[in-house]
């Protein structure tokens, strides 16, 4: 079973519908045992870093997410679900993130428009992630909606970047964990191709 972690953060049904479209049945769930037992875990999210962490903490899902990542369950973070994997965010100073990856989220600075909304071209900075077959098929543009972006301490974790008046982190990978700052479920053919690639990948995607 594929579990989509449903903790009340945004349009999670879109992810379920996109997975269904590429032939993968996935279940929205907030149940710890279901998430632990899942063959794959999707961690979506939109909204406020602090509120999302508060909900994860009060439901105990923060510990469950750390467990499944430690158990090398194939894991896909999306948007806020990427940012929450890190140590913290300027959006919620003093609120610790999940701390699975080292680094911090910072706000895009003027004169950029904030939020960044729209399609941006992603470039791979390292080979071997589930981005590779998608970019190779000439799907470069993905849909982004975000005001904060992550500055990863360990650049080995960064597998994709995009340019918004300077490069920012678009995708990260560590072990069986892959996370995208963009929304594959809203990125048309490119996004569906990425979901297929992730679904076909093994634990090292």
């Amino acid at each position: 079973m594929i579990a989509i972690v449903d903790y009340g953060a945004g349009n999670v049904r879109s992810v379920q519908k996109a997975l269904a479209f590429v032939g993968a049945a996935a279940q929205l769930t907030a149940d710890a045992d279901e998430i632990r037992a899942a063959s794959r875990v999707v961690f979506p999210g939109q909204g406020h870093f602090g509120q999302a962490m508060a909900r994860l903490h009060s439901t105990g899902l923060d510990a469950v997410l750390k467990e499944v990542v430690a158990a090398q369950t194939p894991f896909l973070g999306i948007c806020l679900g990427l940012q929450l994997l890190f140590d913290g965010s300027d959006e919620a100073p003093g609120v610790p993130g999940l701390g699975l990856l080292r680094g911090r989220c910072v706000r895009f600075e003027a004169p950029r428009k904030v939020p960044q909304i729209g399609w941006n071209a992603v470039r791979a900075t390292q080979p071997g992630s589930c981005l590779d077959p998608v970019l190779a098929a000439e799907h470069q543009h993905f849909y982004f909606v975000h005001s904060y972006h992550v500055q990863a301490t360990n650049l080995e974790h960064v597998v994709g970047v995009a340019d918004y008046a300077g490069d920012f982190t678009a995708a990260v990978r560590h072990g069986s964990l892959f996370a995208a700052q963009f929304h594959p479920e809203k990125s048309g053919q490119a996004g569906l191709a990425l979901l297929r690639s992730w679904l076909q990948g093994d634990a090292s995607c």
Binding site: S14, F21, W119, E138, H139, H146, Q189
Partner: protein, 274 residues
């Protein structure tokens, strides 16, 4: 690089597209999902559904439409037309809309957008401004331009961005439907004043108008209805023209994939349904 977006707008009445042209290969030009799929294949970066139904079954038909679109199309879409309350917004979010566009209600109740931003986040909120020139000022109108207000449009744009609107949709009522081009002066006034993305709307007639909205007006995205509905312009041609003018766009380069072929086949099937 972040690309500039082309957003076709579909006017919907009682669940059907109004004023739709008969596209080749599209059996049912009145079916919003079939037309939306067609626009997606032509390279639309987002879609907007503007509901102009006036009857009381409005919300039910709109929820049904949003559900259908979100199961079959995987690009962002906005729903507008009569969104008045947090309840309305929640219904659209639950049905699968990525954003709502709020117009008249935001003018009537200036606190609505701040509350909605706290509840749903800025990424969910487009505030739509219908603007008319009055003397040397830009003034807001409501109810699709029929009702004048005493609200200064530039001040209002700034207040809405501060309150948590993720984007502003700027409709120059004096240019709307003229096909004489977007109101560049108004666009410049707003884009130079707010730091959120601005969508230009109203007045598109030629590819050059799209180019001007971006290069002269500073628009981050361009929305148009009739030029696409009536087949005057194709989205892919507009994008080629913008690219030739040096504007970054998401290319529509790939030949139809197996997915899109399957989608087209589905379109034909859906069109046969009663």
């Amino acid at each position: 690089m972040l690309t500039r977006r082309i957003i076709p707008c579909l006017d919907i009445k009682s669940g059907r597209v109004v004023k739709g042209v008969q596209f080749e290969g599209l059996r049912d030009a009145g079916d919003p999902v079939a037309l939306a799929r067609r626009y997606d294949l032509e390279g639309a970066d987002e879609l907007t559904f503007l509901d102009i139904t006036a009857t009381s079954d409005k919300r039910a038909t709109l929820v049904d439409l949003v559900e259908r679109v979100s199961r079959e199309l995987f690009i962002p879409f906005t729903v507008g037309g009569g969104i008045r309350s947090l309840d309305d917004m929640h219904a659209m979010l639950a049905a699968g809309a990525d954003k709502v566009s709020v117009g008249t209600a935001a003018v009537r109740d200036p606190g609505l957008i701040a509350e909605a931003a706290r509840t749903f986040g800025a990424q969910f909120l487009v505030v739509s401004l219908d603007v008319k020139r009055v003397g040397d000022r830009w003034m807001l109108t409501t109810h699709g331009g029929r009702t004048a207000t005493d609200v200064d449009a530039l001040d209002f744009a700034e207040r809405m961005a501060d309150a948590g609107a993720g984007e502003l949709l700027l409709n120059d009522m004096s240019a709307d439907g003229t096909r004489d081009g977007f109101g560049i002066e108004l666009l410049r006034a707003v884009t130079s004043r707010v730091s959120v993305p601005v969508i230009a709307s109203g007045g598109a007639g030629t590819i050059a108008h799209f180019v001007d909205a971006v290069t002269l007006g500073g628009a981050d995205a361009v929305l148009a209805a009739s030029v696409f509905h009536f087949g005057t312009l194709q989205i892919c041609d507009v994008k080629r023209g913008m690219a030739a003018a040096g504007i970054p766009i998401r290319p529509v380069s790939r030949p139809p994939s197996a997915d899109s072929e399957a989608a087209l086949a589905k379109t034909a099937t859906a069109g046969d349904a009663p």
